[in-house]
Amino acid sequence: MITVLSDDTNQNIGKRVYEELCAREAEVEYIVINDVNVGPCYSCGGCTDKTYGKCIHRDDGDWIFGRLVRSNIMVWVTPVTWGSYSFKTKRVLDKCALIGDRHYYLKNGELVKKMADNIHGFYGIGVKDHCSDEEKQAFKNLVAENINIMSVDGNAYVLDNDVSEECILKIVEEISR
């Protein structure tokens, strides 16, 4: 199962990636992040205590994490915001530890965490027209850190809105591989 989470604000790359995955008959779900209500993580510790493994607050995170926890690959499509994710995207991402393992592991001599056993892929697609090389690199570094800390495979891309179909096909091929 591939889950595409897309902040569709001023971009349609998420939709194009989703449609191409569907055309390949991949098992894929599409979640439009800009329409959902996910509150901030208050770092209250509820998910490691009273409501173990679940956020103490009731919002759209309830069904979004219900879908993510069943996924094998997460594809995050987001406007690039100062080399980072959009606000709406980051609200969901901030709570990803809910579907992760609390324990620590060692990878390349460093401490890391892990996601639920079935999640093995994380792809970050940033969208911004005329994005500077510096900002592209900042976004790619951030996604690389996410991939590392979650102990999954994946990649990062930064695309213009009018990116060619060929480029979308290449990314989809990598994701579905």
């Binding site: 208050y42 770092s43 879908r67 994710y85 709406k88 609200r91 951030l142 800390i149």
Partner: protein, 222 residues
């Protein structure tokens, strides 16, 4: 520097970020500089007091926790709101402090890069930042409690000295403060921390072998 505003980007008013903010306050106070600290989260519905504080300052210090390798989502929202009202931006100096659970600076540095790119876009002066690892372990206690506490304290004070003088602070400063240990020590640390987690769960009678509660969750249209 005429006046510094320290903005706590953490949802917690008492915690490691607030403790670091307090260290900034005390340091600037000793130097006889005007300063104030303001917490972001109580003002999320109406940012006016925070925006006013930025307008009245010539130095802005943003201090916050690291959530999945950068500042929390609401920092992005906050920066988006600042940039909407460019009249409050008048050549201020901007510094960042980010603290997170992992001991490595590379895990948290993306947060500082975001502030640097933000500053570039709105023509204010990003003058550097400081990264502190193992911040979650502190839970608001003093930096001395860190295994590399002495080093962190020394380099963090050097950073604050740069802030007080309005100077640039180089990334090498926090790089030097990082805890550097061989892989087998981290392996032993992981074992120890996992043991503590398991003990805590056992005491709370939590069965981690149960499937995620989200596997039971309803779909939005059901």
């Amino acid at each position: 520097m005429k006046k510094a505003v320290i903005i706590n980007l953490s949802p917690q008013k008492i915690g490691t970020s607030a403790m670091l903010g307090k260290l900034c306050l005390d340091f600037l106070n000793k130097k006889g500089l005007q300063r104030e600290m303001i917490h972001l989260y109580p003002h999320l519905k109406d940012l006016t007091p925070v925006l006013k504080a930025i307008d009245g300052a010539d130095t802005v210090i943003m201090v916050g926790p690291c959530y999945i390798d950068t500042y929390p989502a609401d920092t992005v929202y906050f920066l988006e709101e600042i940039i909407k009202d460019q009249t409050i931006l008048h050549d201020q100096s901007l510094y960042g402090i980010i603290q997170g659970g992992m001991p490595y600076v590379h895990t948290h540095e993306s947060g500082l890069k975001m502030l640097e790119l933000f500053a570039k876009e709105c023509n204010i002066n990003y003058k550097g930042g400081f990264v502190i690892g193992l911040g979650a372990m502190l839970d608001g206690q003093s930096l001395d409690k860190l295994p590399n506490g002495k080093k962190v304290n020394r380099f963090f004070n050097e950073f604050l000295n740069h802030v007080a003088k309005g100077e640039n602070s180089n990334a090498a400063l926090y790089g030097n403060a990082q805890l550097k240990l061989p892989g087998f020590v981290y392996w032993a640390m992981a074992k120890g921390m996992n043991k503590m987690i398991d003990k805590e769960l056992k005491e709370k009678d939590i069965d981690v072998t149960l499937p995620s509660p989200y596997l039971k969750s309803e779909q939005p249209n059901e």
